[in-house]
Amino acid sequence: MSDNEHTYLLEVDRVSQSYGTEKVLRDISFEMDRGDVTVLVGPSGSGKSTMLRCVNRLTEIDSGNIYLDGERITGPDVDVNELRKEVGMVFQDFNLFAHLTARQNIMLGPRRVLGLDKEEAGKRADEHLEMVGLTPQADSYPGELSGGQQQRVGIARALAMEPKLMLFDEPTSALDPELIGEVLEVMRDLADRGMTMLVVTHEMSFAREVASEMLFLDGGKIVERGPPEQLFDRPEEDRTASFLRRITEMHS
C-alpha cells in the first residue's frame, strides 16, 4: 500500500463529508510533515471536530482520500482498529474510563489493543504518568482528579499507544481558566519532543507560539491557511481577521 507520491505524515486530499443532506466538510485539502503542529480554528459548527474524527475514522467521509505516513487510511479495506493504534485522540470532555484509576486508564490500550502483558503495560503507564506530571495520582480515580489532571491523563492515555499523530479536540475548553495552563504546558512539551499534532483550540497564544501552521475553517471550507504570523498579523481574508480578533478578545 505504500505509495511514494505521499510522503507527508498526514495528507488530507479533497475530503468532503456530510450528515444526511447537511454538507459539513467541502473539499478540504491540507498536509502535515512529521513534527508539525497544525492548529485548526473556526466558528462553532464549521466542521473542526468532524475533520478530526475523519482522520481516525470515528466519522466516515463521502469523498476524497486521507493518507497517513504514505498509506491510504480511507476506503472499506482499511482496518480502523489498526489505524487507531497510530492516531491518538484527546477529547474536550476527557472521556476517561470512570471505573479505572489513572494508571489503569493508560494501561487499557497497551494491554487490550497492543497485547502487552500487565507488567509491560504498567511500566509504560508509569512513564507516561511521569511525563504529564501525575506520578502521585497514579492510583486515583477520574472522579478524584481535577479537570486539568483528568485531561493530562487523557493525553497520557493516547500517548501510551505511541501514535504517529495526535488529535486534540478543544482539550482545554471544559477547564476552569486556572487549570488550562498545566494542560497547554504538557502539549507544548509534546510539540518540543517532535510529536505531530493536529489541534482544535481557541487558545490563541498557544497557536501563535507553537503552531507551524494554522487553518481557518468556515462553513466546512478552508478559508485561509498559513503560519500563525500571517493569520494573526497580515491575514489575506477579512473573515480570518474578524474571527481571530473576536476569539482573541474573548479569551484574554
Binding site: 487507531r84 493504534k85 485522540m89 472521556n95 490500550g109 472522579g143 499507544m161
Partner: protein, 309 residues
Amino acid sequence: MSEPVVDTTHEEGETRLSTGGLGRTLLVAAGVVFWGWLLLRWANDWLGGLFVPVGQPFVAPATIESLGASIPGLAGAFDALAFAVEYLPALSEGLWLTLVLTVLGIFFGFFIAVPLSVARVYGNLSKYVSLLYTELLRGTPLLAQLFVLYFGLNISGYVPGFLDGVFANNAAWAALVGFILNSAAYQSEYIRSALQSVDTGQLTAGRAIGLSKVDAIRYVVLPQGLRFAIPGWTNELIYLIKYSSLAAFITVPELFKRANDIASSNFRYTAMFTITAVLYLALVITASRMMNYVEDRTAIPGLGTGSGR
C-alpha cells in the same frame, strides 16, 4: 439561646447512632442464629443424623413447653415456639430447595441477561430479538410459564440420567428452567437501563484507542453498567426469592409447598404461614444485606452514587 440547641442536636445524633448500633447488633445476632441453625440442620439431616435423628428437632417441643410452664405469663409464647420447633425440620428441607432454585435461577439467568441487554443497547437486528424475548417473558405470568414448561413441554420428563435424583422431585428442573428464563428477562431490563446510563463518550474514547466495539463494551461499558445495575438487580433477587413459591403449583416441594402440605394436615394455617413468612423474610434480609455489601465493595470513588454525576 444557641447552646441548648446545639446540645439537643448532639444528643439526638447520639441517640440515633446508638439505636442504629443496637438495631444492627440485633440484626446480626438474628442472622447468626438463623443461619447457624439452618446450616446445622442441613448438616445433621444430610449426614444421616449427626446430632439428632434425621428430621427431629434439636430440642424436643415437649421440653420447651414444660420450660414455659414454669415461667408465669410466658407459657403462650413458649407454646408457639414449641409448635415452630416441631415443624422447622420439615420446613428447612423446603427452604433448601427455595434457596437453590432462586440462586441458580438468578445465576444462570444473569449469563443470559448480559447478552440480552447488550443486544438491546448496541445490537441492530439482535435488538429486536432481545426486545421480543424480554417483552414475552415479562408480559406473561410466571405461573403460566411454569405450567407450559411442566405440563405442556414436560421438561421434567427429559431430565438426563446423571441429573436425575439431584432434586427430590424432577419438577424442580422445570421450575429452575422457568426461573432462569424469566429472571433473565427482568435482569436484562435492569442491566439495559444501567448500560444506557454509562456516558457514551467513554465508548468513543475506547474505540479511539483501537478497541473493537465488543472489547470497548466489555472493558469500558459493562464494568460500569453492572455496578449501576446492582440496586435494581437486588430487587429482582428479592422478587425471585418470593416468586419461587409459585413452583409449589407444579408440585415442587419448596418452602411454600411444605408449609401448605403441613397446614392441610394440622389445620393451623395461620401459625404455619406465619413461620413460613418469617423464613422468607430471613432469606430476603440476608440477600439485601449481602447485595449492600457487594455494592459497597465494588463502589468506585466519584462514580454513580458518589460525587461524580
